[in-house]
């Protein structure tokens, strides 16, 4: 609507014939009062919960940006969020992406799409439409395809495992006084878990002088965790890497560990990904059982985000700020910066701005800079280690982002 009025006015001014007026009007036409940004996430189906949290993060960011005067380079234009539902299947995600590029032609950038298989399908569409997309999905594949319009803000799965392992060892050493030697891996066979486990098996463990003594892959959902836990009990590893995606699997295993007397830190349990630190966990697993469990995630509400965490709590009743909320919050700010840099509401220009962006240290993603390499991966992207402490998963690593001191479960 606003676009139409602007065009009419432009025509009228054009008819006036003054060349100076022409230039002015053009500049005006390029400064719409609104800039649209897409958010393509699952808000229906089985992934609706994380998608909704991403939407909350995005809404908060948009409100903050607009309250602080919008996009200054575009005359204070307000950012507007266009939410599209990626549904619960790859096909639906792809259809939604096609709808986004066909129907919302004035989008300048987008963020999405939670699951890495959705992001892969969505970016096949956006790449062809030259629409820049920021994603928190961390499959290496996303930025391995030579695409120019996808920007990965999280450390990739492979890189996360590489960063996490030395930290975990250091943490264990300082807290317990001895260096862990043996590990067990229990992983489900979803894409993200497999990627992390693969990186560990193929070199990372040996690099860190860790010996793999139990290696089990299961298909979610687990019906019974007894045999898995028995293997752990027999082998007595120093560390257990447990990579579930489904909350019920996490619950089953933690409860069984407790039953066998291995729980609550007898064998330190480290996870990857946010499944084990989602608020939903508390609905099925008691805080005592979770106490001390560590997880390595791409991003988490951390030091410096206290106000955001509080706002999320009051505004949306979210008990803490997961990767989904903070990352998507950050995405909106990065898009804002790119718009300022591009100086026009144009997707190709915004993409170019993102590629050449060098906005200094990252505020909302852990470590590194707001700068992307030629693949579209954020330079220096770090990761966070989160630990369940008294019923809340808090960031305990890296130290500059830590909200609490990590403790090593004592046996």
């Amino acid at each position: 609507m606003t676009g139409n009025i602007t065009t009419k006015m432009t025509r009228r001014t054009l008819l006036a014939g003054a060349s100076s007026a022409l230039v002015a009007s053009r500049a005006w036409a390029q400064q719409p009062s609104e800039v649209k940004v897409g958010l393509l996430v699952p808000i229906s189906g089985m992934y609706a919960r994380p998608g909704t949290v991403m939407r909350q993060g995005a809404e908060m960011a948009i409100d903050h940006i607009n309250a602080q005067g919008g996009i200054k380079a575009l005359g204070g234009a307000k950012m507007k969020l266009v939410v599209l539902d990626s549904g619960d299947s790859t096909e639906k995600a792809k259809n939604a992406a096609q709808r986004m590029v066909a129907q919302e032609t004035d989008l300048v950038a987008a963020s999405g799409a939670y699951l890495s298989s959705f992001t892969l399908a969505v970016t096949e569409v956006t790449e062809r439409a030259n629409l820049p997309v920021l994603t928190l999905s961390y499959s290496d594949l996303i930025t391995d395809r030579g695409f120019k319009y996808v920007f990965q803000t999280s450390a990739t799965a492979g890189s996360q495992a590489r960063q996490a392992l030395p930290q975990i060892i250091k943490l264990a050493e300082t807290a317990s006084g001895k260096r862990p030697k043996t590990v067990a891996i229990l992983t489900d066979n979803t894409a993200a878990s497999i990627a992390s486990a693969k990186a560990m098996r193929e070199g990372l463990l040996t690099e860190n002088q860790l010996q793999l003594i139990v290696d089990e892959t299961f298909t979610p959902p687990l019906a019974d965790a007894t045999s898995l836990v028995q293997k752990i009990r027999t082998a007595k590893p120093d560390l257990l890497f447990f990579l579930p995606t489904v909350i019920s699997d996490a619950k089953l295993l933690l409860e069984k560990m407790n039953e066998f007397g291995l729980g609550q830190g007898k064998i330190p349990t480290i996870s990857f990904g946010i499944a084990i630190a989602e608020p939903d966990m508390l609905q099925t697993v008691s805080a005592e059982l979770l106490q001390g469990v560590l997880t390595c995630v791409a991003s988490w509400g951390a030091k410096g985000h206290e106000a955001l965490i509080a706002e999320l709590k009051t505004r949306y009743k979210e008990p803490w700020m997961t990767q989904n909320a903070i990352s998507t919050y950050g995405d909106m700010w990065v898009i804002k910066d790119a718009l300022e840099k591009a100086g026009k509401a144009d997707r190709v220009a915004v993409a170019e701005a993102l590629r050449s962006m060098d906005a200094g240290p990252s505020k909302y993603y852990p470590l590194g800079e707001i700068k992307f390499d030629e693949k579209g991966r954020r330079i220096g992207a770090g990761m966070t280690i989160v630990q369940w402490q008294s019923g809340i998963p808090v960031t305990v690593f890296p130290p500059q982002l830590a909200l609490a001191q990590p403790f090593w479960p004592k046996n």
């Binding site: 808000i43 229906s44 609706a48 299947s89 790859t90 259809n95 395809r145 066979n189 497999i194 298909t219």
Partner: protein, 593 residues
């Protein structure tokens, strides 16, 4: 080949669809336009197996996924073009169909459906285990056409339409050939189909092979549209369900069903998703499911059949009674003529079927024990006995439904016991059933044609044999009517014609007179007598003796699975053992007078 006229609607529809889609420039609408024929073809492939044979497959995603992974992995690891990979996928899908069908067709009904459910789920885990959780098709900017990555999304729609038209033509060809007839016969009654000389396993295997090939081909194309393949998106439960949904919504067992279902449901789901999804997340699923439930309640066989029935009714009302009162009395010589002396001699002529020491028990129940009898050329043998005497079991042993525990069935001197029913049918034995299983939606002629294939070399000959058989039972005037509109007597005659169409030397008739009124029974008896005069040997089961006494040359009486007596009607009806078996001991004394 199907007649061009019957393909005209499909061709017109495809052209109209193509014209509309060429006019659509919005890439999102175009994607939806591409997905409609994709799911229509998948529905058609399901329909080819499940729609026509009635064996519900919950696992068509197995073939779809194999196709999708063929294009994805073929491009990634071998750099092959999808133009080549789609036919390769079809081949692999066909092989998978054969491999899956062979063991699974041992199961029937729900067991078959559940077993089919397992295949895609099992394959899904195999692909996850192989590490193919997420596979993306490499982008080919330099050779977009060779690698089917068209810049213009309309081309995808056109390719999908071409595949759809090809599938429709193929389905029509099958529908109008003995292939389709065989599948329909299997759907209505697999046992009857076997008895009519149809090698049901062979046809079912052909159907699942072809169905698998089509599903894999369209799965391969789908991967090309989606560009990302994950086990869930091609082997998932929802994929299999999609085939069922479009086919059952549109109409099962017709080429139009899946097309109608897809044309309505795919855009509907997308519109709901686009319009309501972001405001009321999840509402789209609720409305979509509700719409499907409503349609299934109103039109349980699908929209196509409902509309066709409605149109038929309206058409029938507007053109008053063109089929008015078919003359039922005219064709049949309704008088029961006494047996000629010449036929009386039949009992002494050549033996065409001999049963020796035939036994079969079910657990402790000896249903047939040590039965011996001979059937002579051109005689009418009545096999009688009270309910539960083992008559139908005996027939089932004769025509191969059951394997005997011991004993022999010699047909023309050759032991055929233990052979499959269709083989025995080929050897010249036709049979009808106690419980009629007409193919209700098919015309009388089509019903009968099914029985003719065992003898006919081609379609024309089959039609001719069928028409002859219909004439012999006196149904020529109503040959074009749908079986569902017939009276019991006409259905009995139609079943008789179906058995006759295979030109049997021996006919086994299982309670052909059951459920008929007095006059009606006489008409059917007259037809049977005429068949005997024409040289066919007949064995007929009946538990009411009345009509039989006038019809048969000789009786074999069974009780508790064993032959208690045999002989000419006059002698048998006075036999005390027979009276005892039928009426109990106390009547024997009465009957003696």
């Amino acid at each position: 080949m199907p007649h061009l006229r019957s393909l005209l609607p499909a061709i017109v529809f495809t052209i109209a669809y193509a014209v509309v889609s060429i006019g659509v420039t919005n890439s999102y609408y175009q994607l939806v336009l591409t997905l409609v024929p994709v799911w229509a073809v998948f529905g058609l492939s399901w329909n080819l197996l499940s729609g026509y044979t009635g064996l519900i497959s919950f696992g068509h995603a197995a073939f779809f996924g194999i196709g999708a992974y063929t294009t994805a992995l073929g491009q990634i690891y071998f750099g092959l073009s999808p133009w080549l990979l789609i036919p390769v996928a079809a081949m692999l899908g066909g092989i998978a169909g054969l491999l899956i069908g062979f063991p699974t067709f041992r199961l029937q009904g729900h067991y078959f459906a559940l077993a089919m459910l397992a295949y895609p789920l099992a394959i899904l885990y195999v692909f996850e285990w192989l590490g193919f959780q997420e596979v993306t098709l490499p982008m080919k900017r330099d050779a977009p056409i060779a690698f089917m990555q068209f810049g213009d999304p309309r081309v995808y729609t056109l390719v999908a339409l071409a595949i759809m038209l090809a599938t429709i033509v193929l389905t029509r060809m099958i529908e109008q050939s003995r292939f389709g007839m065989a599948l329909l016969a299997i759907k209505q009654n697999e046992a009857a189909a076997e008895a009519a000389g149809i090698n049901t396993l062979a046809w079912k295997l052909r159907a699942i092979t072809l169905s698998g090939a089509i599903a894999a081909a369209i799965g391969a194309f789908y991967a090309q549209v989606l560009l990302v393949v994950t086990p869930q998106s091609v082997f998932g439960m929802l994929v299999s369900a999609q085939a069922l949904t479009v086919a059952m919504f549109g109409g099962v067992g017709t080429v139009w069903g899946p097309v109608i279902g897809s044309v309505i449901l795919i855009p509907l789901a997308e519109i709901l998703h686009a319009e309501a999804g972001d405001r009321f997340p999840g509402i789209q699923g609720v409305i979509f499911g509700f719409a499907i439930i409503c349609v299934i309640l109103v039109a349980p066989e699908g929209l196509f059949w409902k509309l066709r029935d409605l149109l038929r009714k309206r058409f029938a009302r507007s053109t008053p009674q063109t089929t008015a009162a078919p003359d039922v009395t005219q064709p049949v010589a309704a008088t029961v003529t006494p047996l000629t002396v010449a036929r009386k001699r039949a009992a002494t002529s050549e033996v065409v079927l001999e049963v020796r020491n035939l036994s079969r028990s079910f657990g402790g129940l000896k249903a047939v024990q040590d039965v011996n009898f001979k059937l002579h050329q051109n005689e009418i043998l009545g096999i009688i006995g009270p309910n539960g005497a083992g008559k139908t079991t005996l027939f089932n042993l004769l025509n191969g439904f059951l394997r005997p525990d011991q004993g022999e069935v010699l047909i023309g001197g050759r032991d055929m016991s233990g052979q499959r029913p269709h083989t025995i049918c080929e050897a010249g034995i036709g049979r009808t059933f106690q419980v009629m299983r007409p193919f209700l939606r098919m015309s009388i002629l089509d019903n009968v044609v099914v029985g003719a294939y065992v003898r006919a070399k081609d379609e024309d000959e089959a039609r001719k044999l069928a028409a002859d058989a219909i004439a012999r039972v006196g149904l020529s005037d109503v040959a074009d009517r749908v079986a569902g509109e017939l009276s019991t007597k006409e259905l009995r005659l139609m079943e008789l014609a179906r058995a006759l169409a295979g030109q049997p030397r021996i006919l086994l008739l299982d309670e052909t007179l059951a459920g008929l009124g007095h006059g009606e029974a006489d008409e059917v008896v007259a037809v049977i007598q005429q068949l005997a005069r024409d040289g066919i040997t007949i064995a007929i089961i009946e538990h009411t003796m009345q009509a039989m006494v006038r019809l048969v040359d000789r009786f074999v009486v069974l009780d508790h699975g064993a032959v208690i007596t045999e002989g000419e009607p006059e002698a048998v009806t006075r036999d005390n053992r027979v009276i005892e078996a039928y009426l109990g001991k106390k009547w024997v004394a009465h009957a003696a007078h």
